[in-house]
Symmetry: D2
Subunit: 330 residues, 4 copies
């Protein structure tokens, strides 16, 4: 359910489906080989190819789902998952795939993000994410000549460099053979952003993005611009000169966008569902041994790329709509 | 203005003033030697030593402020500050110290946090932050024997190890002599937290903390548990077993607290106001040379410690109050 | 989409369908004879007969809808409807039945209200509405012996008195013959409400109910307790003595519930869609004559009864959930 | 604390003080003769005569207040007041004048409303309220020739007709002699409002105004346009033709403003504090006799006039700021 999208934005089911397809398992890559078709249907808010200004409801039915696959998880808590604290919170849990804590939940984010990206595109703003690191193997930074953003959309690992992609693919295959998984880092940049987005105190641009991105399952950290490296830098090195291309701050100052390229990185932990046997606990507290069944991604990062873009676009589109009214009294 | 605090919480001006005093410049340490008395007055919401359940208004007057100190900044934009994008956003700017983008703004956060900490203390929950790294010099981790939390409250640098504090103090003095500044990292842990805090999708515990902490000026990144290191780890290493002391996830799973110690780290950039001459731009776009006047902190981290605690306590107190009602139908 | 319902509330599709059936056209009464089946399907949030604590999505497909019925309204604005100002606001309008300004929109409110009523019922609280007046013909007040609440559920006009219902039915038939419509008043009372609901300033109990009830289409006014009559009363007559059954204030004081019966009345205007020919304007501003096609209710009030109950239950359930946490510090 | 006011609005303390002076007791009229000076001070958000776009804090100190006047109310609950249910909610109560349930609380609303009125004035929109009825004596409607809005600002009763004002003044004096109080009705209209304000479902224009106005203490009902009279009208009479001056609906349709004059009426109950001896209850539940001390208004309506204007202006200014962005995609 998307609320707040203005009227008269051209929008079709295809625009949304295209983003959902980017989130689908890539086949031979780091992803699961489950078949998730993820076909979307627009229920409301669009009329004759344009938005109505009223809420847009989209439904994506889970056709691949087989509840019986999850019967062995009814009384057991998976390591690295939220099963246990979910029961501590709600006193009840839908054990069939994790319910709202399932990674499938990101399909809704990607669908909503497609609308936000369409809105931003009308102002010339583009949001681009890619996999910058998996298991310690790094892709080049945009400042390096080997960085090739179009390559990231060509390979199923979303790595912006063919050589690095090949090296990472080998690591993924090795881990798959070892029935293990691995974490990684997704980078995101926003081109042509307007200055002035974000509020001075609690709703700083970085604060809003941090909430949006850390709300994605498996995300464990975020840093803006030079980030944790800035913690080791001197003011004389790290200070950006106003109205220049200096960008240690990642496109913002005091929580407000400067108009420079917005840049941040999100750390993702390893997929907790691994085929390897693990020690865990059941509801009675007893130690149990668990084989998590089903086919799971080795690394979440390639499929997280459109999710990172979606959450970023949603925050920015929301700020763009607010900003026009906030700036100057009529 | 603090809204949402329940009635009948014992509260005095002293409880708030004590936290404000922890935020004051330490004198010989990393901080400015400006005299900020920061005396608070409670205007409403407390009656005969107890909260009324209605909003608590607290006022802290800025007595040390001298507007004339800032006259040289009227038409010039400071490097590393929000002066320029503030004008881009609002078309107007109070140049006398940065207005709401001034670090003084954190005094209000600390005052509100004192109330939140008092509320959490009634459930036995304590929020503890310390400086874990400045300019690449690290303090020990709580898992190391040389970690001494009480030491962090004894030295003005808030470093939990006397030897590391001494080494960092020497670096600070050197940077002060060089008219420069430096970044650092603040760690935070929460003891005795209840399980079940945080919502499954957008309002995950880490997402809410990330917004709260990144809304602090100069914060450039946050990581939970093993954080960016988790991005380099395998699932077989990084997965926490439920109902054990395993804690790579930092006290949460799926955005919901587990009851284990909550742990995260916040990166702060170097203080942008340095005495050294810097190149910058004025309102006309012309290149200008600037000496930022006044006495500024060399490193923001020691004084950020109570701010990090305050923001953490505010998020947790809010979730505690919501949680009792959210869990189980009457 | 219902967010905020706690976990472990027993809930089935039947509980919701029963309320939707109360909203259906009554057949021979004041209502349309269109066939609206309004069958609901629960998509999420309920597991093995209990709520999960996560959002409950319910879908009600509009099977009776025939878009061609509305083709004559494409370029014309109906009198008494929002067609014109909708276009002024959004620049686009779905002319097929009014979109979100259609009375069908209340089906979602009734479905959500069924969940809220189930929640309140667990605390012994019941919300009861009835038609108290149509076209100047009044039903008796609960303080009168001829008031019979069960009768209101027996007759399709929802009038709590068989004699008054008969008189009103005759008026409805006469108006239907004259191709006209009529307004009326719906009364609502809440039994066994707890004291202490509502906030002291902006979120007073009556303020929240007023927003909720005036958000129902065709509602034009609301009054609490003695309401507009209170405007003609003296303090010596109108003041309720605390902790007594005095109830001129309608079960609240200073915006907070007292624990006495909550009482208010909502005025509804006549249904604007009448079969009679009316003068109106088209998109070019030209005067046009319009026969609104289709079968429409003569009076909205009987079908508004479950909607009034639903909105009331939603406000109260929300306050009940907040209230437990708001009252006293842990 | 006013949040959301855009930058660059010319604003001085005088603009706010002028509205606060309109709320002051009139001296010989229906009002108390207590001396409330209500001098305001702007603490933040305004710089060199213009708003900064950041929150505007205004403080009004209560200089006339003498706590000892209220000592006799410590253990007793006043009839018609919120004393009892306040204790039921919070378990604690500031008995010195009612705290946030005091009518003094409206001073803050009027100060904030002054800013909203200044903002609306820049779009040519004016909000005008007056006393239309006290104790059954009515002032003329704007459609009648004897209606004189400027007269309402001349007499201390805010009645738009000198003859009616005189008649009401006599009633007020009689009630004061009888140590009693009386209710009344305040009308409000908004001239030159733009079409398109308000949202289609829950945030209808009338719903938002209803919440805002019923949040004013002593308000017991609201009706829009022909209001409760519409409940007795036929569709053929009550339907407004689009794009005409027809205005039974009070300037809105489907919850969205039409651009016609916005019109509504608010019913206020009699002031509950009367000098006459009243029966009541104390904290132990015992019956007690009470003389409420101090000088209180006989009728709240004249002083409610600027409060009604303020709440209306706040709702409309907020919608105006949102509306510019909501309408059409960039």
């Amino acid at each position: 359910m998307i609320d707040g999208c203005p009227a008269l934005l051209p929008l079709s089911r295809d625009v949304i489906q295209r983003e959902l397809d980017r989130r689908k398992p890539g086949g031979g890559g780091a992803s699961t080989t489950r078949n998730e078709t993820d076909q979307c249907e627009i229920l409301s808010g669009v009329f004759e190819g344009q938005t109505l200004g009223t809420p847009i409801a989209i439904i994506i039915r889970n056709t691949a789902h087989n509840s019986a696959d999850y019967d062995h998880l009814k009384d057991i808590f998976r390591p690295g998952h939220a099963d246990w604290c979910w029961e501590a919170k709600f006193g009840i849990r839908d054990h069939r795939g994790g319910g709202r804590s399932s990674a499938r939940e990101t399909a809704g984010r990607v669908a909503a993000g497609a609308v936000a990206k369409a809105l931003l595109a009308r102002s010339g703003i583009s949001v681009q994410a890619w996999v910058s690191e998996i298991g310690g193997i790094s892709a080049p930074h945009p400042s390096e000549s080997s960085f090739d953003f179009e390559e990231a959309e060509r390979n199923s690992l979303r790595v912006p460099c063919a050589a690095a992609a090949q090296e990472i693919a080998a690591l993924i295959e090795q881990l798959r053979a070892e029935q293990d998984s691995i974490g990684g880092v997704v980078n995101c940049r926003v081109l042509n952003l307007v200055p002035g987005l974000g509020e001075p105190v609690f709703d700083k641009l970085d604060a809003l993005l941090a909430q949006a991105l850390l709300s994605v399952g498996a995300a464990k950290g975020i840093e803006f611009g030079s980030g944790f490296d800035a913690a080791r830098s001197r003011g004389s090195e790290n200070n950006d000169r106003p109205c220049t291309q200096d960008n240690n701050a990642g496109g913002m100052a005091g929580g407000i966008s400067t108009g420079n390229t917005l840049e941040f990185r999100v750390a993702f932990k390893a997929v907790p569902s691994i085929a390897r046997e693990q020690e865990t606990r059941d509801r009675s507290g007893a130690i149990r041994s668990l084989h998590v069944q089903g086919r799971h991604d080795v690394c979440v990062c390639p499929r997280a790329v459109p999710v990172v873009e979606a959450m970023t676009a949603l925050v920015l589109a929301d700020l763009m709509l607010q900003n026009r009214s906030a700036r100057i009294a009529p």
